[in-house]
Symmetry: C2
Subunit: 195 residues, 2 copies
């Protein structure tokens, strides 16, 4: 395999992409985020380091894609009430961040993102984009039902919920606790409801 990209953009082998993503996920789970290097990922995937760097700018970008982006997106909950929808959303978020690779990667990954000016600006969007879309849908329904005001600040609520989950699951690393999701959803929904 040559070390310079083909000038005509030879199609990249999707099997390499998958192998690299799987290797990154496995290594982070096995040895933790700090000990996972591009070299180790490349070796596990059976490719050269240049193959990895052609696709990803660096370790944070690779680990983020491997661990935090999935092709399956659970449908937005529609339980009939804001409290029920927020509870379901939070349970999903907690489950996602408690998965072994995510729990192993999150603190170090956030630190690397925060330390890189290019990535720092993307923390909120990258980590929270799917959740924000779902929360917007939940808020639209709640507003239509008259449960909340139309101008309820979605970013504030999202940051609050995500921050609490990041802190509880990603840092303190406690066992997944549905009770956390339920209580947090109850407090926040009561906090923004207008009826």
């Amino acid at each position: 395999m040559s070390s310079s990209p083909s000038p005509r953009g030879r199609p990249r082998d999707p099997r390499s992409h998958e192998a690299i993503v799987s290797a990154a996920t496995e290594l982070v789970t096995e040895v933790g985020y700090a000990a996972t290097s591009i070299g180790a990922v490349a070796a596990r995937a059976g490719v050269g380091k240049d193959t990895v760097y052609r696709r990803w700018r660096g370790k944070p970008e690779l680990v983020f894609e491997a661990v935090f982006t999935t092709t399956d997106h659970a449908p937005t909950p529609d339980t009939g009430t804001l409290a029920g929808d927020l509870t379901a959303l939070l349970r999903d978020l907690i489950d996602e961040f408690h998965a072994p690779a995510a729990a192993a990667a999150l603190p170090g990954l956030l630190a690397d993102f925060a330390a890189d000016p290019e990535l720092k600006a993307r923390i909120r969007t990258d980590f929270l984009a799917p959740s924000k879309e779902r929360l917007l849908i939940v808020f639209e329904r709640a507003a239509a039902r008259g449960e909340i005001a139309a101008d309820t600040p979605v970013d504030l609520v999202l940051d609050t919920l995500a921050g609490a989950v990041f802190f509880h699951v990603g840092l303190v690393g406690e066992q997944p606790d549905r009770r956390l999701a339920d209580r947090l959803a109850a407090v926040v929904s009561k906090g923004i409801e207008i009826r």
Copy 2:
């Protein structure tokens, strides 16, 4: 200076302690958390590395003490209402975490704590102990006024508030926003009030 501790515990020079703590704070602010090494701190403080290691187990312990523990503790707010007290508490927390050294240190410091089994168990207590004491006092007063139930979950509320602040200030790193404190306090106080 000898490299082995005196067997009789010769009193440690408090000026060294202060010099080391100041050096750590300066360096983290100047070059960031990752680039701050024990060697660089020792050099800046004009002591040997062994002098630093006699007092602190490692970099995370030193930076934590330098940046996040202060001898001045602001009095617990007493505004007459839960919402007012929570607003004041959050403004203090945001101001503390937005100070240059704290903002520079927080993401990397949290990641190092999370990666060390001995420290991970101390994240919640170390980072949040002063805030928890103050929140307990605020909750006692609010319960006495009948604003909240006596069994309102203080840890949940604290984790939620701290998580939101850590996320907003420590990771996303936006300008200090008193509006964040006010809105977050409003949502959470309304979320836990029973009258």
